[in-house]
Amino acid sequence: MELRRGRRRGAGRWSAWHFGLFAFTALVLLFLMAPLVVVFPMSLSSSSYLQFPPPGWSLRWYEQYFTDSTWIDATLRSIKVALATTVLATVLGTALSFSLVRGRYPGKEFVNQISLMPLIVPVIIYSIAVYGWFGQLKLIGLWQGIVLGHTVHAIPFVVIIMTAALRTFDIAQEHAAMSLGANRAQAIWHVTLPPLRPSLISAAFLAFISSFDELVVAMFLGGSNMTLPKKMFDNIVNEIDPTIAAVSVIQVVLVTVILILVSKLGSGAVPTER
């Protein structure tokens, strides 16, 4: 009797305690969403000052963003850098993942540690280090230089997602392909890579976002060629005007769209999936 009652209680009827828990959860989620939501009304403010609620409504900050060539240049530069970073990091990181999952050679664990190190080492340290190094190589101020720095930080994301995906892949399928007449390259191309496509998409998006949002490396390496985050940073520090709010809204919308795309096409980046 005691047992059965206990089981029924556990089976799904919520207690007051549970509702307290869910209310707390809702509050935490509100805390997480609040700074994203609040930029929407700010971007429509008619005032030049940081003031809430806005005294009136207008679209002038969106107009400001789209007509100011420094904003547009910074945005295009960031997109260019992020795309190049995505390609470089995805190719290098995927090859590295194959090596880490399939390879049998001494020092593999060391290679693994090296590839994940940029996640743990504070970005500021790396930034000044590469700033010094690129200063000697005369690479400061080039967008290609920013790409190199961002790729270092995007590789770990690719490696984490692709090694996880490769570990679940049944090597017997590759063997089957080879016994059926495929050489190794054909086996990988026809049999191994297609099921990995969702993970590749996730890895690529993550690499793109990590570069597109990155500030500190770009701040040191960019020189006078500002990326979008650097331009936003300057705008915030100097408290110029709410154009930053309009930019923020555009970014939140963009991230939402990407997130939906990834949840449809990708796998491994969203932890609700297996």
Partner: protein
């Protein structure tokens, strides 16, 4: 068709060591044209290593593999012209059934029209003529098995390898697929090497069986030979159920079992130094009337009863306690079930036993 020897597989002195462990110790094996030969053995016996060497996923330290007289020891898997059915089928999940079966033809650059014709033909052969458009995950286990088989034979390979292909199926389906695979192999006259740890499966499927243990072939022969006349204790213990006795030869025709009972030997014992092993299948033990005689006969008590449906198994211990024997008798109306503690008289002919050196 090709020459007379087409489809013969020869393995010569294949040896493979992993560190201190010898997985394969100089195995010689010939699979004849059109024959289904089974590698049977427990895990770690070297059967999988041998299969991998034949398939090209493993390289032997010494020895060679030849197909049709051609040395393929160093050839990549793709160049071996060997069809293989994998343990869990290894179907490509993102390709349809037809695409899976077409894959080896695509790799061989066979023109589209012929490709489609052969895929259709082969799918009909495995009884899946209308399933070409489905994905593997939409098929049942038995159907997936057939697709794997179709994919392995569609390109007319010289040799078919089957790596524990029935492990994932339930018992009924497994028996059905065993017969189907066997029929297909015989119809296509394929030379086949089959790997399993299931002795019943080996008896059903094979023309010949190679029983493997400790990296060597312990015995090679037809299923009947292996079952009736195992050459060693290991083989006798591995194939079927048996009573195994250790005995000391007294002369070339009698021996003394452990426990002291003297028995006449089934074959003339050539002598020599060591002990010998005597094997007796449980179904050869007979129930005797009180006055019946046999080469070996004794009175005893039933110690243990195992009901198996069509047959029943008894463990019987002799009254003098010197011998314990396992007997299996068919159940029919005349044969009622005896219970534990029942007194019986049992015996068998000397010729029902089989002898081999103990060590």
């Amino acid at each position: 068709m090709a020459t007379q020897d087409a489809g013969t597989l020869e393995v010569v002195g294949a040896t493979r060591r992993f560190g201190a462990v010898t997985a394969l110790a100089g195995v010689d094996l010939t699979v004849r044209r059109g024959e289904m030969l089974t590698l049977l053995g427990p895990s770690g016996s070297g059967k999988t290593t041998l299969l991998k060497i034949v398939a090209g996923f493993e390289t032997p330290d010494e020895g060679a593999v030849r197909v049709d007289g051609r040395d393929i020891t160093m050839a990549p898997p793709a160049k071996r012209d060997i069809g293989m059915v994998f343990q869990n089928y290894a179907l490509f999940p993102h390709m349809t059934v037809a695409e899976n079966v077409a894959f080896p033809l695509l790799m061989r650059r066979i023109p589209r029209a012929e490709r489609e014709r052969r895929v259709q033909e082969t799918l009909k052969l495995v009884d899946l003529p209308t399933h070409g458009g489905r994905l593997p995950r939409q098929l049942s286990g038995g159907q997936q098995q057939r697709v794997a088989l179709a994919r392995a034979v569609v390109f007319d390979p010289q040799l078919l390898l089957l790596d524990e292909p029935f492990g994932a199926l339930d018992r009924q389906l497994r028996e059905q697929m065993q017969l189907e695979v066997r029929r297909l192999q015989q119809r296509l006259e394929l030379t086949a090497l089959f790997v399993t740890h299931d002795q019943e499966e080996a008896l059903v499927m094979s023309d010949r069986i190679a029983v493997m243990g400790q990296g060597q072939i312990a015995q090679l022969g037809t299923p009947e030979e292996i079952y009736r006349a195992p050459s060693s204790r290991f083989v006798a213990g591995f194939i079927g159920e048996s009573n195994l006795y250790r005995a000391r030869p007294l002369d070339d025709a009698t021996a003394e079992l452990e426990g002291g009972m003297r028995v006449p030997l089934p074959h003339k014992w050539p002598g020599g130094t060591g002990d010998l092993g005597l094997m007796l299948r449980p179904e050869r033990v007979r129930s005797l009337g009180p006055d019946d005689a046999a080469d070996i006969a004794f009175d005893g008590l039933i110690e243990e009863v195992v009901y198996l449906g069509e047959t029943i198994k008894y463990r019987i211990r002799s009254d003098d306690g010197r011998l314990s024997v396992l007997a299996r008798w068919p159940l029919h109306e005349a044969n009622r079930i005896l219970s534990s503690g029942h007194r019986v008289r049992v015996g068998w002919r000397s010729a029902d036993m089989h002898s081999f050196p103990w060590s």
